[in-house]
Amino acid sequence: MIKVNQLAVTFNRGTPMETPAMRGIDLNVPEGDFVTVIGSNGAGKSTFLNALAGELRPDSGTILIDDQDVTSWPTAKRAGLVARVFQDPLGGSCADLTIEENLALANARGKRRSLGGSVGSRLRDEFKAKIAHLNLGLENRLGDRMDLLSGGQRQAVSLLMAAMQPMKILLLDEHTAALDPKTAAFVLKLTREIVTERNLTTVMVTHSMRQALEIGNRTVMLHEGRVVLDVRDQERDGLQIEDLLHMFERVRGSQLDDDALLLS
């Protein structure tokens, strides 16, 4: 479903600030795979996700989604293939718009937008039924502005928005990182349900090693812009967080000093 070939990008090329964020990433994700991507700060996780979403044009390499070469497609053009949930709970929705307007925006993803009314009564009923599944009591608050919701509620609605229209791949960008543990667990459970229910091909970036091993069926570790570990299914089931840590140390050739990875 996703074929990434020798993807490379360098920020601030030709300046003293030159940073190679990706140095030739190869990854082949078959349909139905749920890949968790892990790596320390600056490993290239976010850059990789941005490249998949189209927010960033790579210097070299190609990206194929559903056998289409989308390397040069801007984000908006890819929206019919790619759905995304952002790390910042405010990032995935419009704070100034109401819940139903946000849902209507997502409902038109990948379709041609018309001059007809955005939220009709038929659509409102449909939204109501869908949002009731979240069990957050939001079905009677469709007219509320998005910024009245808590971070967890927003992420839940963002997930719902992402799943509104058919897609080829779902991108999750540390979408539970800004939430408290209980809410994070809820959003993660919801993520699992939606992904399993629709058999979605998913790439999830995470900062938590436990999450990386618990969720999905495959884990990829990035380091300095390269894939340094790629384990799946049975092979991955046998892995413990300690094993990941050892691997980290080996690729870095030093002691791990990133507390965030150890503690989360």
């Binding site: 929206a79 990032g91 419009c94 209507a104 038109a108 993803r109 009314g117 509320d144 928005m161």
Partner: protein
């Protein structure tokens, strides 16, 4: 204040309500601070007046003026989205360029429309005096434009335009080509402003190259003033606030100029406006009224 002065203030207030709606589109919906307005207002006046004196149908001339305004808005948007020039600077460049262009269009600093047939000429056949009929006709037009804008901003396309202003990254992720929406929104905004300029020239009987000075501040005064006096959570309220703000601003100015005690003269107008806008912007709770954050909304 005499009835004549009152109706005159309402007339100008209604004309500038169109400017306020345009400014609301750029500043608030697209969050694009756009000073093109100072050029597109006289552009509308210049195009319309020049066409009318060469014998073109006044309705066609007014339509041409609005289209010219749309073009000016697109130039600013293009400078910003394609050439990546800072939005404020892009609009200043267009504004400055339009000063020369307006002089070229008219061929001289001003064009008089005295004795010409304008879109307001049919009002002369009514039994009402012009100073009564004109505000009524403008009120009808402004209400029609407001309703059309409400409908547009609540359509799928309008919703995408609002998302472009609020959260462009999210908008792109939802398949919205934000560049196209900025181009379209800026065209619409400046078309409204140029339309106001064309109507202003026809009601005042002349187009002048200096008409545009301070138009953006007057438009902002209406938008911000409207937000200060009412809740603008829903789109229909926000557009209503623009119109109310514009009329109230004109009434306040007329009242101030008609009060001999204050010693203010017509030339103090821009200074008063600047002070009013500054006050409205720094007063707490104006830009983000708390009342709109605590109450549930279902009427958008």
């Amino acid at each position: 204040m005499s009835t004549f002065a009152l109706l005159g203030a309402i007339e100008v207030g209604l004309l500038f309500a169109l400017v306020a709606l345009g400014v609301y589109l750029s500043f608030r919906v697209l969050q694009f601070p756009d000073l093109t307005v100072d050029g597109s207002f006289p552009l509308g006046a210049a195009v319309c007046a020049s066409l009318i004196v060469t014998g073109v149908n006044p309705y066609l001339a007014t339509l041409a003026a609005a289209l010219a305004g749309a073009g000016a808005g697109m130039v600013t948007a293009w400078l910003n989205v394609r050439l990546k020039i800072l939005h404020l600077l892009a609009s200043i460049l267009t504004m400055i360029a339009l000063y020369s262009i307006n002089l070229r269009i008219m061929g001289r600093p001003n064009v008089a429309l005295l004795g010409e047939t304008t879109v307001f000429s049919p009002l002369d056949t009514l039994d009402l005096p012009t100073y009564v009929a004109l505000p009524i006709a403008l009120a009808v037009l402004v209400v029609v434009v407001k309703l059309a804008l409400d409908w547009f901003l609540n359509s799928e396309v309008g919703l995408a335009m609002r998302a472009t202003g609020v959260n462009p990254r999210m908008a792109r992720a939802q398949g919205i080509n934000t560049e196209h929406y900025i181009l379209g929104g800026m065209a619409l905004s400046n078309a409204l402003v140029a339309l106001a300029g064309a109507l202003f020239a026809q009601s005042q009987g002349a187009a002048d190259v200096t008409l545009g000075v301070g138009v953006i501040v007057v438009g902002l005064a209406a938008v911000i003033g409207g937000e200060a006096i009412m809740n603008t959570r829903a789109v229909w309220r926000a557009t209503l606030a623009c119109i109310m703000g514009s009329i109230i601003y004109r009434l306040a100015v007329a009242a101030a100029l008609n009060t001999d005690m204050l010693g203010l003269k017509a030339q103090d107008l821009n200074l008063i406006t600047a002070v009013l806008v500054t006050l409205a912007m720094v007063l707490p709770g104006v830009r983000m009224p708390f009342r709109s954050k605590t109450k549930g909304a279902s009427d958008t």
